[in-house]
């Protein structure tokens, strides 16, 4: 994670491989940013798995419930393909883009 203040939002840069082993660290990364605006940078993602998708969707839902901004920055082809395969391309539109 590279957390930095940009336009008041912390940027959470996703790892390139979001496989089964990345889910727990990803949850911890989001957990550390709870309550603060977050911009998710998926521009380097090569592979997205179901467990990390769960974490991402849960985080989005949690931030939304909290009323705290949650946005999506850059997205890589690998990330978009992963969403598509898992039937979750709608996230590209339901999460605000920057």
């Amino acid at each position: 994670m590279q957390a930095a203040t940009e336009s008041q939002a912390e940027t959470l840069k996703l790892r390139s491989v979001l496989d089964l082993t990345a889910a727990a660290p990803l949850k911890a990364e989001f957990g550390a940013l709870r309550g603060r605006p977050v911009r998710v940078d998926a521009s380097d993602v090569d592979r997205l798995g179901a467990l990390c998708l769960q974490v991402l969707m849960s985080a989005h839902s949690t931030w939304t419930s909290d009323g705290v901004p949650f946005s999506l920055g850059g997205t890589s082809p690998g990330f978009e393909e992963g969403l598509d395969t898992l039937g979750a391309s709608f996230l590209l539109f339901s999460i605000p883009r920057e």
């Binding site: 957990g31 949690t62 992963g82």
Partner: protein
Amino acid sequence: MDPLASIKITFFQECEEQLAELETGLLTMKDGETDPETVNAVFRAVHSIKGGAGAFSLTELVRFAHVFETVLDEMRAGRLAPDGRILDVMLRAADVLADLVRAARDGGTVDEDRCQALIAELGALTGVQEAAVDDGFLDLDFAPITVSVDVGEEPEPAAAAGLEMAEGAPAAEKLVVAFRPRAALYAKANEPAVLLRELASLGRAEITLDASSLPQLDELEPEAAYLHWVATVETDDEAAIREVFDFVEGDCELSIARVPDDCEPVAARQPPVDEAETAGELDIKALIARATGGATQTAAAAQAAPAAQVISLRDHPARAPDMSARKEDGHAVAAASPTIRVDLERVDRLIDLVGELVINQAMLAQRVLESGLARSSGIAVGLDDLELLTREIQDSVMAIRAQPVKSVFQRMPRLVREVAHATGKQVRLVVEGEGTEVDKTVIERLTDPITHMIRNAIDHGLEPPERRIEVGKPAEGVVRLSALHRSGRIVIEVADDGGGINRTRVRQIAVDKGLISPDANLSDEETDNLIFMPGFSTAETISDISGRGVGMDVVRRSIQALGGRISIASRPGQGSTFTLSLPLTLAVLDGMVVSVGGQTFVLPITTVMETLQPKPTEVRRLEGSVPLLLVRDRYVPILDVGHRLGYRAGPIEPTEGVVLLVEGEDGRSAALLVESILGQRQVVIKSLEANYQRVPGIAAATILGDGRVALILDVDAVISGPTSEPALAETRLLAAG
């Protein structure tokens, strides 16, 4: 909020709309308009509720709606004539359906006996008894977990996957795969994405993600399995599918079913209803998919297709899943007007912000004016443009929140039926002006007062049928509910053709209860107004109908809290009319800014008919009355605002100030005397009650361009009172010659 709870709220909101459509349609049919369009609209309303209810396993609601729908289907097919008797049954069925919806929404129960009786009555109309209701409808489930579709039998209304057979459809090769991984699948380093990718390689696949079990981040176990999928794959090779899941067989729930290719999501199933008719259909499955983080998409089309589908889901959530399929079939698809649902909170926030914008714009204009810039300067011209634009934005924003009063009025026919039934009276409700628009915040607070007034009109106003016949009236009484815009306000009237207020009795009750002294000298109007006194109730016994003695005082208080007023006009033997007058919006008003007693006040410009500076010859004085102003051969009382509100010890000479001819909501006029007129502008209303307290004669406050607070006059309150009675004043003058 839990995604499922959120979508359920949406479902119940749409149910209310469908119930309103249902009642409107049935009443229209009862008035003799039984054209296919109306019958179809009624059918569609019930069908939609049934479809959504099935998705939430609201079994009682589904069961009842199904029986109801069957009758309507017979009617659509022309096998059942919609006569008055049948429509009465259907109106009562609509009431029960509404009860079932609300019981499902709010908890609680419905009158089971009534429900069963209606089911029996509806069944008798078609010859279909309840036992014949296909329980398959009760199996509807939004969660795409298991699939059980048997093409060899009678068309089954539903399958657990939310799919059902289209009648008479030719079979084609599609397999529906419901895939629910367990945590063990992940623990063994298996990846659903890999499995789904392989699945998609077998044929064109539509993959729906079900995230309804996904918890909030705090509760999420990173290695637990929350996501499920349903894939519809164009293949007949079941073995190949099983092979994909071979290695995870024990670590997931998997079911595969064969369905024909034109199976549709449950809510999209339309018996012989044409395309245009389905535009308003609830598709709860699509909504659930959307709200819980699920969407249907074609995995094979990895690039462009998802975007288009998601946008269509967002724009037309109820239609998206079946629109593309029908287009492919070459059918015309009715263009539904795109609508979105927006949280009222967001709209309110926008209105608040625009209000601040208006204030800031006014302050900016004031500063530019004070800087001495010429009116023709570029900045001044630019500010004028900005003002126009600001006004336009404000009007547009307010229009978002404006709604017709129909949503409130539509609830009243049922109320009338029930109160009429409970009191044994015959009542016809006539509704007028239901398209009259008013701010949503006002509408929301209209229901209770109107409900109470209508109950009162029937319970206390209308005579029993036998009494009506005795006095030469039709046995059926009429209650008229109407709405119209007048003087920048909405005026709602509830009128009955009953016996009018029994003033002798009202007065006696007031005396008995110590509300007035026995020797009080009251006019008819003052006597009528006694019913608004707290604790007053003319009912001999407290009844369920009129509200357990809550009384009209509560109605009046709730109306006053909205900046409104209520008045009565009653004629013995002919009936009573209750008139509510409310502001159209609680956010802004166009005002005339005046100076009174050294203070700045704002009058709603809609109340001002004319402004003028009185000449000595136009002013008449009569003993015991306020001065009168001659305006076009008519005398109106001159009311010194500063004096009346206590800003000055005594009145000023009318010729020393300016008068504003105003008209109150009851039509009476007065000349309000002020020191000077400072201008005219739009102001943002700030509640005085919320920020300070209620002040007699003052409706609200605002912030002017110079930053000062100005009070907004309550014109009706200012002109009310015995000395301002124009009819009296005119009478005196005329009598004096």
